[in-house]
Symmetry: none
Subunit: 196 residues, 4 copies
Amino acid sequence: MTESKKRGPRRSSESEQAILAATLQLLKEKPLRDVSIEAIASKAGVGKMTIYKWWPSRAYVALDALSKSLTKKIPIPDTGDTKKDLEELFGSAMAFFSSKKGLIFGRFLAEAQSDPKFAVSFRERLLNPRREAARQVLHRAMERGEIERTLEIESVLDLIFGAMIFRLMAGHGTLNKTEAMSMVSILMEGIASKKI
Amino acid sequence: MTESKKRGPRRSSESEQAILAATLQLLKEKPLRDVSIEAIASKAGVGKMTIYKWWPSRAYVALDALSKSLTKKIPIPDTGDTKKDLEELFGSAMAFFSSKKGLIFGRFLAEAQSDPKFAVSFRERLLNPRREAARQVLHRAMERGEIERTLEIESVLDLIFGAMIFRLMAGHGTLNKTEAMSMVSILMEGIASKKI
Amino acid sequence: MTESKKRGPRRSSESEQAILAATLQLLKEKPLRDVSIEAIASKAGVGKMTIYKWWPSRAYVALDALSKSLTKKIPIPDTGDTKKDLEELFGSAMAFFSSKKGLIFGRFLAEAQSDPKFAVSFRERLLNPRREAARQVLHRAMERGEIERTLEIESVLDLIFGAMIFRLMAGHGTLNKTEAMSMVSILMEGIASKKI
Amino acid sequence: MTESKKRGPRRSSESEQAILAATLQLLKEKPLRDVSIEAIASKAGVGKMTIYKWWPSRAYVALDALSKSLTKKIPIPDTGDTKKDLEELFGSAMAFFSSKKGLIFGRFLAEAQSDPKFAVSFRERLLNPRREAARQVLHRAMERGEIERTLEIESVLDLIFGAMIFRLMAGHGTLNKTEAMSMVSILMEGIASKKI
DNA sequence: CTATAACCGAGACGGTACGTCAGGTCTTCGC
DNA sequence: GCGAAGACCTGACGTACCGTCTCGGTTATAG
């Protein structure tokens, strides 16, 4: 026997839900930095200790709140045509990043700058799933011979996600479908002029 | 000399220097978020009021401290060959982003997520100069006909800077010259396989 | 049917003993105020509920712990000579008050200042027994005609016990047999000088 | 010159007054134990830090609050007749102990049971002044030859103060002038019956 | 001899207050 | 008369216990 069930009360999922809901709502109102544990506890009708018991810091509560609200699986387009696949993929990514939750995503990446452990969780929970979807699309394209076999796929991923997230965070440009399409084109054909 | 000196002490440039130096040093030790005004004041041997008098918040002190330490003009390569220009440009950008000061740059972008006014200053002081250099390189290339005339230059800029900054902030990949070269290649030629 | 025996296990005297023992030991280490229910429960290897089930607050647990540890009956001296009786009585009282348990006694009287109900229990359980012994000695002395028949016995009791407990609590003087003897003398003969 | 005046703002006596007034009022409403720093700060319209800056714990704030409210000097009766002096002295002591502030006095003595440093301050600030008055009365009586020259004055002081404070704290008897007179009589003449 | 209910340990829960830190404002006084 | 020093109010931090409650296991009596 490896696992002995403990006696006593279990984690209250009512409280957990209330905490995550309160947190998500607060995150939509103001930056993570300004969302205090006390505010979450108070809004959720919960003691602070209950939060500290289950999460190491407010950043993790926030991460849980956001990632549990992103239940929909990220679709992996498979039209047979790489450019179309990429357009679909990055179109939906752009939709996400330009939404309220995309904004929160950016703030999480900001939080990760001063908390390396959080950065790890952030990558695992929010970043990698979306990245993995794109990775599969590129793999399939490579297998079909539609993209160069020598490509550094990770660099490609960074080019495309990086551009969107950079716009999201630096706020110097718009985030819309047109931009996504423009980026996919550049990525596919390159910028060098085709002579002849 | 056209400026008549007023009586009484002016803004003490001694204090200013001490404040900026103290701030820069603290920024190298820990994230902006953890650098308190009190710590800066104490380290600089200065009253808190002196800081509040000249800067609206610690983020701006930090911005000043970093940008005044970046005195070297960003070089605009002009070899005549676009790919070489880009390689040089993004090689040096990569060197910056992977340095201590690059790390601080990332943290400033993080700070901008919860302070829109700061985001504006950040873009003006740190982001645009580097971006402008790249913009000129691309313009020249376009004029020479080495890159397509229909390109959205802003998108190109975001693709390349975004990728590096994204790596810097998300920490999922390395930041080195090889990566920069790889990205320039992808950008130039695109990922689509060249048939025939 | 007046009394129906309930099913199920009875009060566990093992737990009770463990609780009282743990409490007494903790009381010897630190003031009642700093002895938490959680500490008692943990030290006794018992759930908090078991304590709350049988005692209304930690003060009562403590009262039980101390009073059950004072099993020896307070002896009522009867030498035939009032002064000797009083010396013996207050000598032993002084011994008690200057002991570890006397210290705890003082802390209970302190606790009584902010809990009137506890004050009642404290008087009944700890104060009155000792007082009653003294009362009997004084009664016998009065019957023998060795002390004035008009005396307010309660005032006499307070004079003598009050002096000792006051020293115990205020800590401005020593608590020893010499003091007790000195007090008995003053009490017996008064302080007024005897002319002629 | 040994003391260099510091720059910067001085202690705000407005805040200090507000804190002491709030504390005294709260002390009249509930036991010291139940008067929280937060309640004092809130009632005084003051930050908690201001309290922590100037007093080591709430007990000292309370001590300050009470002792600064006891401005009247304790009168030292001098009628020429020792018994009358004592009656006056202990009459007024009884009046104090049976007042609201006397109740607070008792609670301070309770607090002293779990804080030895506070006990010292308590003795110096509240206990000794009153004790000193009584000591002088007894000294004069001794010089006049009205009381025995061999008396342990400290013991006499404890007998009389102890009795009153004990009644105050244990709550088993009343605190009024009659009791005070009764105690003075016992103290003066002793309890032993005067044969012929 | 079983089944049922009170008891128990463990400990999660909503709270209150703790003592600390830093924020941003305001005041005093030395140079 | 500037500016260092620092007191002030505010608000959040993370912790300790409070007293209540809920589990699952154990035990002793009632049926």
